[in-house]
């Protein structure tokens, strides 16, 4: 794990993107089992179509996991005080997600740094918005 020197980060600094390969049906099947979320709408295209969707789509939580990967790639997990997301748009099978992050606040008194994160798809549409508070001490 290559961790950053958190002390040197300042408001507005962007972190390196995490670019994911296209979401496959195989990945959705693995996440269905691994996460315990067995809703067929994510893995069974017959079911998804009968529910009025064009195809299966990713669990929102899978994108939150991608965001989590970016966070813990740059800071030790024990430093993360909180991490929250808002689900904004559907991620379809085949979509290519990029996770972006920048520093939105540094609080020297509380010794915390706040990251603002987003997942965007290949059309530059935001699918997930997130925020994480990191302890500096």
């Amino acid at each position: 794990m290559s961790t950053l020197n958190l002390e040197t980060l300042k408001t507005g600094d962007a972190l390196a993107d995490l670019t994911l390969p296209p979401i496959t049906r195989y990945q959705l099947a693995l996440y269905c089992g691994g996460s315990g979320d067995h809703n067929p709408i994510h893995v069974d295209s017959d079911f998804a179509k009968s529910a009025g969707m064009k195809d299966v789509f990713a669990h929102g939580m899978l994108s939150m996991c991608f965001m989590g990967r970016l966070i813990t790639r740059i800071v030790p997990q024990s430093r993360v005080k909180s991490f929250g997301v808002r689900f904004v748009a559907i991620t379809w099978v085949g979509d290519e997600i990029t996770v972006k992050a920048h520093v939105c606040a540094v609080d020297q008194e509380a010794k915390t740094l706040t990251l603002e994160l987003s997942c965007v798809n290949q059309k530059s549409e935001t699918t997930l918005q997130g925020q994480a508070v990191i302890s500096l001490s």
Binding site: G34, L62, R69, T72, Q77, K81, S82, F83, F87
Partner: protein, 156 residues
Amino acid sequence: MIDRKHVGHIFPAFLSTIEAGRIRLFCKAIGETAAIHHDAEVARKAGYRNILAPIAFPTTIAMDNPNPRCIIELVDVDIGRVLHGEERYEYFNAICVGDQIMTELKITDIYDKKGGALEFVVVALSMCNQLNERVCDIRRSLVVRRPQPRNTVGAA
């Protein structure tokens, strides 16, 4: 409208065991390759009891609820109208392979927007480990879309 009497409802707590195989499959699914999530020796050298669960794993622990649909059943809405709105973790202690996690689940708020077109059910989950340490709180917001009225005044 969802009955506001459900605010404050506490569901039965449930126990989960954090299994190594489940962490392995979870990591495979999300593409997480960091050694601390795969190798017990690496995790121990970093000060953990055992392999460290990834940062977004607590939601998976919450799926161990013997009745995963308990909230939807209690507030009596069709699952097809329910969307996951928000998920937020507050972390207190690490979750590692072998841990026994007790999860408590409570409805903390129900409110509506857009004149009732959208209703929000806010749920708080609280997780403690076998050492009676608080490990993680989750705040989850579920969005319930109201069905469109089929007949409006003046419609043909």
